[in-house]
């Protein structure tokens, strides 16, 4: 089970700030995305704007994730 955190506009479009997804070990972020977008269709149009973090560090689509990992869905940051 992977914990997925959503922030800002992504949480807004998904309608939730946190969800869990059951995956096979070794799945990549790119493979995780369709599962998430299917569950939260409002996210789908944001795809090209989003970044991801795995366990608190930026990660690319080819990064692998395993059960117990924390994935964060990060819209363009706008601090300051």
């Amino acid at each position: 089970m992977i914990k997925v955190l959503l922030f800002g506009a992504a949480a807004d479009r998904a309608g939730t700030r946190e969800t869990e997804i059951q995956v096979d070990d070794g799945v990549t972020l790119a493979e995780l995305w369709p599962l998430l977008a299917e569950r939260h269709p409002g996210l789908a149009p944001m795809r090209h704007t989003l970044a991801f973090a795995v366990n608190g560090e930026y990660a690319r689509g080819d990064a692998g994730v395993s059960s117990g990992d924390e994935v964060a869905v990060l819209p363009p940051v706008s601090g300051g």
Partner: protein, 145 residues
């Protein structure tokens, strides 16, 4: 020296903490809520959220980058979360350095990096709806532009 807080920022205290006998310059940047206006509507306040503890760690990384690049004596960055009203400070950066060039450059670098890499998001709450800055997602008609 690097913090994310829920309370108003005390910039005077941050500057006081940066005054050191081995430094001759303190450059400070404070980001404040500006009332933007458009088509009869205006920003009423900003609301910030963060992905913690990643955001805390990214602030520390920016501090480390600055200490690598410039001769500085003290770097302090504090970002506020939650509702920040017009004129109030959302972020304060204080850099003390032996010489002013480094202090100016490092403080500017810090705010640019914060806007690039620190997982913090702001929502503009307008009189006619809200919009997530950078995503153009929200409840204002203009948000879909």
């Amino acid at each position: 020296m690097f913090a994310i807080v829920d309370e108003p920022l005390d910039v005077g205290a941050m500057i006081g903490g940066a005054q050191r006998p081995d430094c001759g310059a303190i450059a400070t940047f404070v980001g404040t809520t500006r009332i933007d206006e458009a088509e009869g509507a205006s920003v009423e306040y900003l609301e910030y959220e963060a992905y913690r503890p990643m955001a805390d760690r990214k602030l520390e990384e920016i501090g480390a980058e600055i200490e690598e690049r410039w001769d500085v004596g003290h770097v302090c960055i504090v970002h506020r979360l939650g509702r920040v009203d017009p004129g109030e400070a959302s972020v304060a950066i204080v850099v003390a350095a032996p010489r002013r060039g480094a202090a100016f450059e490092a403080s500017r670098y810090a705010i640019e990096r914060i806007k690039q890499v620190v997982p913090i998001w702001k929502r503009e709450v307008w009189s006619d709806g809200y919009v997530w800055v950078g995503s153009q997602v929200g409840t204002r008609d203009k948000a879909s532009h």
